[in-house]
Symmetry: C2
Subunit: 361 residues, 2 copies
C-alpha cells in the first residue's frame, strides 16, 4: 500500500522554559541533543517518522525565529516544508494552518501531528502503532489521539479514559482528564481504563477541517479568508503574517478533542516520555556508576549521586557532596537546584526577567 497521501506535522515552536538555562530562548529544548547521541529531539522526531511518511510530506511548523535552526538541523527538507509562525499561538491555530496548507497540496491527505520534543524509546512499536492509526483514520471519519499505557501514577500528565472498544487497541474516548492529584492518579493507573495523553494525533485532513469548522468556527473564519492563498507560498505567507497573530490562543485538546464526538484513542506502549522536567530527563537517561546523568559533558564527582548535569560538551564539571541536583550551565547562566525543586524553575526564570530583562532568557 502506498503512503503518498500520508503527511506528518511536527510542531516545533515551543520555548522549553522548563529546561532553562540549558534550553534558552534562542535554542530551545527541541533543538538540543539531550542524550549526546548527535541528534537533537527534533531530529529524533524526524528520524522516527521517516519509515512511515515520505520525506517530502513532512511539515515542520515553527516560530519564524527558529526556522534557521530547523534548516540547520534538517538540511534535507525543502524551504517549503517549514511553516513559519509569525507569533506563538497554541496548538489549535498551528494545526488549523497546517491542515489548510496540506489540504491545498493533497485533499486526500491523512496526517500525524506530533510534538518535536518528546522521547520515544521503542521505535519499532512506534512505527507499528502509527501505521495502525493511519489505517484507522483512513477508514472512517475520526479524530485519533494516542494514549500511552501508564507505568506510574504520574501527576504531571493529562489522562484519557477509554470507552467502548472499536478495534483491538482503538477505543472511543470517554473523558479527557487534567493532571490528577497523587491519589487519583493511582486509581487511574490501577483501573486500567486511563492512558496518558501523548499529544500525538492522527486524522484525515477532511476530518480535522470539518471538526475545526464545527467546534472552532471563529478560528476557522480567519483561515476561510485565506482559502485562496493556500498552495501559493507567497500569498499564503502574506496572509499568515497578517492574520495569524490575531488568532485565538487555544489548544487543540480544548478547542476540538474534548468537544467532538468522533474522538478515538489508540492505546500504545512504545516507551514514551514528554521530557517535561529534569526528573523525567534523569529517569530516561543512562546513569554512570555514581547514578549521575552526565549526558555528553565531562563530570568528575566525589560523594555525589542522583544528579543530572546539562553542560556544554567541552566543559568540565567537578562536583563534591551534591545529591539529587540539577546542574545546568549555558555559557552565561548557571543553575544549581535540587531536582525536587524543579517546579520552581519557572519562578526563577520570572525573577531573572524582573532583574535583567531578556538577557539571560
Amino acid at each position: 500500500m502506498t503512503n503518498q497521501h500520508r503527511y506528518c506535522v511536527i510542531m516545533c515552536g515551543g520555548i522549553g522554559s522548563r529546561f532553562w538555562p540549558y534550553s534558552r530562548a534562542d535554542r530551545p529544548k527541541q533543538f538540543i541533543d539531550f542524550f549526546g547521541t548527535g541528534r537533537s529531539l527534533l531530529q529524533m522526531s524526524y528520524d522516527r517518522i521517516l519509515p512511515i511518511v515520505p520525506k517530502e510530506n513532512i511539515i515542520i511548523v515553527t516560530n519564524d525565529k527558529y526556522a534557521p535552526l530547523v534548516k540547520e538541523q534538517l538540511p534535507e527538507l525543502d524551504e517549503s516544508q517549514i511553516l513559519r509562525e509569525p507569533a506563538r499561538r497554541n496548538t489549535a491555530p498551528c494545526i488549523a494552518w497546517a491542515a489548510c496548507h496540506i489540504h491545498a497540496l493533497d485533499p486526500e491527505a491523512s496526517i500525524i501531528v506530533t510534538p518535536s520534543d518528546h522521547v520515544i524509546t521503542r521505535e519499532i512499536q512506534f512505527v507499528e502503532s502509527i501505521k495502525r492509526g493511519f489505517e484507522f483514520v483512513d477508514s472512517c471519519d475520526s479524530l485519533l489521539t494516542l494514549g500511552i499505557k501508564p507505568t506510574r501514577p504520574e501527576t504531571g500528565y493529562g489522562y484519557i479514559q477509554i470507552g467502548q472498544p472499536e478495534t483491538d487497541c482503538i477505543n472511543k474516548v470517554k473523558t479527557f482528564t487534567e493532571k490528577p492529584d497523587r491519589d487519583l492518579a493511582k486509581v487511574f493507573v490501577e483501573s486500567g481504563e486511563f492512558f496518558w495523553n501523548s499529544g500525538i494525533f492522527l486524522w484525515s485532513v477532511d476530518s480535522i477541517l470539518k471538526a475545526l469548522h464545527e467546534y472552532a468556527p471563529d478560528l476557522m473564519s480567519v483561515f476561510e479568508r485565506g482559502r485562496a492563498s493556500f498552495g501559493h507560498p507567497e500569498e499564503e505567507m502574506e496572509f499568515i503574517n497578517r492574520e495569524f497573530p490575531g488568532c485565538v490562543n487555544i489548544s487543540i485538546d480544548y478547542a476540538v478533542m474534548e468537544r467532538a464526538d468522533n474522538v478515538y484513542v489508540e492505546c500504545v506502549d512504545f516507551g514514551w516520555n514528554d521530557l517535561g522536567t529534569w526528573s523525567a530527563l534523569y529517569d530516561m537517561s543512562p546513569k554512570n556508576a555514581d547514578k549521575n546523568v552526565t549526558q555528553n559533558c565531562r563530570v568528575i564527582s566525589y560523594s555525589s549521586e542522583g544528579n543530572v548535569f546539562a553542560v556544554n560538551p567541552d566543559k568540565l564539571v567537578v562536583v563534591s557532596g551534591l545529591a539529587d541536583y540539577v546542574i545546568a550551565d549555558s555559557d552565561d547562566v548557571l543553575l544549581i537546584c535540587p531536582k525536587s525543586e524543579e517546579q520552581s524553575i519557572k519562578l526563577y526564570v520570572n525573577d531573572v526577567k524582573l532583574a535583567y530583562g531578556d538577557k539571560y532568557i
Copy 2:
C-alpha cells in the same frame, strides 16, 4: 628623610592552585580582582607600597610566562622592573636574585619583600609598620620578618614565637613553628607570645646577601658566578636563563630565617589574610543579605546561605538549596564543592590532570 634607597620586591610567580578553577594556570590568583574593586591582588599589593617606596624602586619577580600579565596590570612599570624567572623555584632563589639585582643598582638599598597575593585591610597601619621596619633594618644588621597578631587559633599558618624585646614592637625571634594542630594553636594564641608568619620581610641588601652567603652557600655560589652580569640587563638575563633553573628549590624561611641569629619580628596588626583558601576569601569578603559572598558576579539565590561564588562578571548564577559551598566557574571548568572540603581541591586538580592533562588546569 629620603626614601630613595628603599626598594620593594613583590613575589608574583605563584600558580594559585588552591583557587582552581577560578584561578587558572594562565591567570593565577594574584592577577584576579577577587573583591570586584577593579584592582587585582597584585595591583592592590603595588598600590599599598607606593606611599613607602619610589615607583621606580619596585621590582616584580614573576615567572616568564606571567610577565605579560604583570605589564598589562602595572603598565606604569618599566620593563627593567620585571624580573622573569625561567623556572619556578622557591622563595630563596627568588630573593637571592632580587638581592643581587638590587645590590648592583644600589649597594645602600634596603628592601621589603612581599607576596603579591595577600590581603591587607588597614593600609595606614601597614604603611606605619613598614616605615618602622625600614628604620630598624637601616639601623642594624638584621633580618626582620612581620608577625601578625593572631585573631583566631588558625591551623593553616606558621607561627613565630617572640623573644627579647628590642623596641616597642620589635623583638628577637625565639622560634619559628610550622602549622600547629588546633589545641596547640589555641595555646599559642592565648599565650600572647606567638604571631602569624606573614612572609613579609625587611632587610638591607647587605644583610640579606651576607646571610645568604653564610646559610645558603651552595645557592650563592651560583649567583657568585653571575656577579659581573648584574646591572647589565642582557647579560643578567642570559646568566639567569642559564643558571636559575639549576638552583635548589628552597624557601627563604628554611634556608635563612630559621638559621640566622640576627632575626627579628615586628609585631603588627593591620588586618592581614594570606587568602590561602576559599574559606579565607569568604571570611574576608562582604556578604549579602543571604550571607553569600557573590563578589562581582550576578547571583540570584533561594534557600542558600554561606556560599562563596567566584564566576566571571557577566555570568548569572541561579542557585537553590545550597549551603556553605564554593561555586567557582571559569569558562570551561565549573567546581561545586562544600567549603569544608576545600583542602581536597588539590586532589581534584590531580584527578583532572590524570584524566585530561593540562587542558583544564
